[in-house]
């Protein structure tokens, strides 16, 4: 309890509380999801030279994939199960070659979106204007590669 005859202490407490309230009101951090909740991993396979493990966003032609891009997961009935935004991405190695002390290496940009409460199943996922049908979600979540894995360019003479 604060004694009314201790104005300095009261003032300090008041100031601290007021400033604290100000900081809290400015904060836009979302509530953290439980560590074991599923996540959507969105991997932009842009193969750009970057330092590894630094903030990133999709590079050209994937500039639409960046912090703040909307992410929605919808089911067969078109009900929205998750509405979120991409957080800041992190750069990861594009391959397992040894580039020595090179400051920048071929990299991709990975976004990790918490998806608490998302049950296992097959859903349609929209990332910005891009739609991915039949995305399989399991207990760990889902993985979305952009462009999708396994696409072979339609080259002349290719089987």
């Amino acid at each position: 309890m604060i004694h009314p005859r201790t104005p300095r202490r009261l003032a300090a407490l008041t100031l601290t509380l007021a400033l604290g309230a100000g900081l809290v009101s400015c904060s836009a951090d979302p509530v953290a999801a439980p560590e074991d909740s599923p996540v959507l991993r969105v991997l932009v396979r842009d193969a750009v030279l970057r330092p590894l493990d630094v903030p990133c966003a999709g590079s050209r032609p994937y500039l639409d994939l960046h912090e703040g891009t909307t992410v929605t997961v919808v089911d067969d009935a078109d009900a929205t199960l998750l509405a979120a935004e991409l957080p800041e991405g992190r750069s990861i190695a594009a391959d397992d070659r040894d580039y020595g002390t090179a400051a920048k290496q071929p990299s991709m940009c990975e976004f990790t979106v918490p998806a608490p409460g998302l049950d296992a199943g097959e859903y349609r996922v929209r990332v910005g204007e891009r739609t991915f049908d039949a995305v399989v979600v399991d207990a760990e979540g889902a993985f979305i590669a952009i462009p999708p894995l396994g696409i072979v360019p339609d080259l002349p003479g290719a089987p």
Binding site: A18, L19, A21, P55, R60, H66, E88
Partner: protein, 189 residues
Amino acid sequence: MNRRIAPLLLLAAALTLTGCSTAGPDAPVPGGAEMLPGAVPSAAQFASDTDDPAAPRFDAELVDGTPVSGSELWDGRAVLLSFNASWCGSCAENAPMLDALAEQYGDALSIVTVAGDDDPAALDATLRQTPPPGPVIRDSELTLWRAYAVVEPPAFTLIDHEGRVTRMWPGGTDEKTLETALEGVITAH
């Protein structure tokens, strides 16, 4: 209320409010014609390497619609093109460095932001919150980005006073590196 506490409460309230404040949506967007550089300082001296390639020419518009051309921008002064986007976190971190360089070199250098935003409102809000160090080109179609082979922001291109590309930094660089490069093209200011 205790008279000694009242001023502290007012101070706390003021700090709380200013901590969240940004310019209103009706405020002019910084980065238009008012940010074009003045006359090149008479004391300024420049150097150029004639082996460097000519900078890609361009015609563009600033955020206020003012038409500009590359050749006007680098006519007799060095230009640093700063390729940027409102969603680019590391671009925002470069702001103090670019402000310091703009202050240091004055009108001997023009730092031109080339904003690749496809959302004009997002760009306007960012510019109001963090005023740029010089004029800002809207490049929503990425015309200049392509011309200067930019694949992601941040990226810098240094152009000397005769319109030659001195150096490009995909992914950005640090203040010391930029200062060293600028000392090579602006020998007095």
